[in-house]
Amino acid sequence: MNTIDNTLEQAAPAQTAAVESEREYIRPAVNIYETPEGYVLEAELPGVNKEGVSVQVEGGLLSIEGRRPAPVLPETEFFYRETSPADFRRDFQLDPAIDAANISAKMEQGVLTLTMPKAEAAKARKIAVA
């Protein structure tokens, strides 16, 4: 699992909210799969639509942010509350083998799926013996 561990943020505390310049964020649940072509990352961002998602890669760091539209319902009228209205944010250290220029993303029913291919040179190759 070494390559997967390298793709996760390092030394991150297992907390729900991470304070980022005085804003509270929720760390979305993610699944990361390694395939022969690269990695697939799924992040759960309920309540976030395509316009509210931002995916950025800079210097090997992948940042996912999901903004939800401002809440419409007055807080005082909640009979029972388990969710948080905070936005989502999570950063990942990318495996250097990933070809950042060819990362593709799609958003469906609150799930962001990123397909991150490995650069050709990094893929396992069979070398023919002459």
């Binding site: 760390r27 990361i32 639509n49 009979f79 799930v111």
Partner: protein, 125 residues
Amino acid sequence: MFNSSLEAGLETQFPGGCLPALDVHDGKDAVLVKAELPGMKKEDIDISLQEGVLTLSGERKGNCQTGGGGAAHCERWFGRFERSIRLPCAVDAKSVKAAYTDGVLTIELAKAETAKPKQIKIQFN
């Protein structure tokens, strides 16, 4: 509030018992129930109302395996879930509306006439 790694642990201990996260909003004319259920299809969600208890159930399809047999890191939970909540007041069972957008299920239950707040004028004799 459940954090992501805790969710996976709770799901195995209380399968479908306390997930998905739910909000119940007590408005003037309707009760609104919101559940966070990202990545599902409408047809895999069941909603039923019986004697003032709303039950949400369904199956979150998916798994944590890769086709190529590579490694995987899993925080999302999958499988059957079922949660029941007693509504705060009487509702009109004939006018329940449900919508599933951006992974959030919203159920709007109009309050029964008897349950709506009323102003009572006090007469002074």
